[in-house]
Amino acid sequence: MSVSPAVRLERFAAMLRARRFDETLIEHAEMVVGVFHVSIGMEATAAALALTRGSDDLVMLNHRNHGALQALGSDPEAMFREILGRDGGPQRGRGGSLHLCDPEHGVPYTSAMVAGGAALAVGMALARKRLGHQGIVFAFFGDGAMNEGAMHESLNLASLWRVPVLFVCESNTREAAERATATQAARSLHALAAVHQVAATAVDAADAGAITAAMGEAAAELRAGAGPRFLEARTPPWSGNAAFIPQLTTGRLDLSSGEDDAWVQADPILREMRAMTADGIATAELLAIDRAIDERMREAFERAAAAPLAPATHASEGVWA
């Protein structure tokens, strides 16, 4: 099922917010205390989440959370303030990049432990079901989480209890889709979910249309009362994602060198842009959307960077009720 032109532009903007946020951060990496993880290459999945999430749905993200939050509509200045340890950061300087969350957009808390958030999501969905509340729970995690026993316990529990969780495995380090790797003997990750009787499929997550359709379909099944679903979102690996602090100085590519041709073909944003122009959407319109977002990110960063540091009193608050 394809989306309307207006929704397609909305999705494109969500992808660009995710990308330009991270690029702005990479350009000022020296100002960030501690580590941060970017979501470059995963923007189509983030945008699909933004289009699919209903107002009653909850989302569990992970350490690589910037892109999804930007796609969902979180305030970039607030996020930059948090990442830079400035006053006005929504986690009050206590969470930083690893734990960015935003209850207003369905993200009540963010665990940075591999498989940790997906395990919590099962309980959130149990709460939805027991309390008779509307809404489903999205659990985002990487391919590495599938190595954790915690993940398999959680898939089993979700399946036994038939709770409304959509497990979204952002597989962003596996070069080949159907082959064992140095860390995973299984040839496919969705097959691992399927053995727990969780309906599971794989999708090309660099194809904005495909991932949007797959996520929408799975969510609709969950809303209709189906048990948990699992999506293996196959995402093109971006070399900068591997490092704690991205080694690439920027995600903005100089296309003239030819060195990045493979990435240019794989990049979900460029793919979608090519598809949109092929479908008759004016390039100028797309570039105007990008310019506005890029400008917004730069301004948000500048305001955040100019803010005072979070007050010292925040360190010991919030421990006890």
Binding site: L58, M60, G89, P90, Q91, R92, R94, G95, H99, C101, P103, P108, Y109, T110, S111, M113, G116, A119, L120, A121, V122, G123, M124, A125, L126, A127, R128, R130, L131, H133, V137, G149, A150, E153, S154, N156, L157, L160, W161, E317, G318, V319, W320, A321
Partner: protein, 315 residues
């Protein structure tokens, strides 16, 4: 009225289930298999979800549910089962309010049997309270009387902090006064008065301290016994005030001494009043042996507590 610890625990849980119709137990009983059946599974099957043997996922589901507005109580049974589920408790539940900037919290309760049940051996007789008290954000309550287990369950199941209820299999038959209304946890609580020394403890060791006080009374020594049920956050000022009348203090703990609740209490009191004379009576640094005569070589027994107290008074 006079009630046993087991009766008080069961009553408190019944009250909590009646007061909060949404409260869900991820496990079938707070008492089985080593204490008498509390009858919960028979009386409230709809309030119980029995998880598979899957401690990580169960603990995480309980924490996740609490974040999403469903209060859960997890009967862990033997505390060491939770080693598989440690991460969701110490690294998620404890951090939810702090890391979310106060936007969310995780009012979940984990109940577990700690200490030596005798004959369980090294893998089933751990003292997790010493580990949990070092995790900021976890409320750790270890009651030692019918009144304090009543208050502990009430505090855990109505509070907003993730709470660890440290229970002990051998506490079930001890009796004591139990009021009609839910007791508040008042830390510290003087459970026996006496002027020659003061014993400070919690959980089963509180009962051992009372037994030691009885032994000492036969020698003509009158010692006070103070219960500190809330191990974290420790009510430091109240502890210092409650011990103020005593120059000789014995801190008793079934944990090994290093990083134990008792050693923390001792440090706080000694820091505030350096002239105080103190003793620390803890389990010796060995795993719990299976044979009970070997176990008694390492545990704080009433006789060992009494001996340490006599030595302190004589010094």
């Amino acid at each position: 009225m006079i009630a046993t610890y087991h009766e008080a625990r069961t009553r408190a849980l019944e009250r909590a289930l009646a007061d909060d119709p949404e409260l869900l137990l991820l496990g079938g009983s707070l008492s089985l298999p080593f204490n008498p059946d509390d009858g919960l599974a028979a009386r409230h099957p709809e309030r119980i979800l029995l998880p598979p043997i899957s401690e990580f996922a169960t603990a995480a589901a309980a924490v996740g549910a609490s974040i999403a507005g469903l209060r859960t109580l997890v009967p862990v049974s033997t505390s060491s089962f939770l080693f598989y589920g440690f991460a969701p408790v110490v690294n998620e539940a404890a951090n939810v309010r702090y890391l979310s900037g106060g936007a969310s919290n995780a009012p979940v309760t984990f109940h577990m049997m700690c200490g030596s049940r005798r004959g369980g051996g090294a893998q089933h007789e751990h003292t997790l309270q010493a580990m949990f008290q070092n995790v900021p954000g976890l409320r750790v309550i270890a009651p030692g009387t019918p009144a304090s287990v009543d208050g502990a369950l009430h505090a855990a199941l109505t509070g907003e902090d993730p709470t660890i209820l440290i229970d002990h299999i051998l506490l079930a038959p001890f009796d004591g006064e139990l009021g009609e209304a839910p007791a508040a946890v008042t830390d510290p609580a003087l459970v026996r008065d006496g002027g020659d020394a003061m014993l400070v403890s919690y959980s089963l060791m509180l009962q051992h301290c009372l037994a030691a006080a009885q032994l000492l009374a036969e020698d003509g020594l009158e010692v006070a016994v103070l219960e500190v049920a809330t191990l974290a956050p420790l009510a430091v000022e109240e502890l210092i005030n409650a011990t103020a009348g005593h120059e000789r203090l014995v801190f008793v703990d079934e944990s090994r001494a290093a990083g134990s609740p008792a050693s923390h209490m001792l440090a706080q009191v000694a820091q505030a009043r350096p002239q105080t004379h103190t003793r620390l009576v803890c389990t010796l640094d060995a795993p719990a042996p299976f044979a009970t005569h070997l176990l008694d070589e390492i545990l704080p027994t009433p006789a060992r507590i009494a001996a340490a107290t006599r030595a302190l008074i004589a010094a």
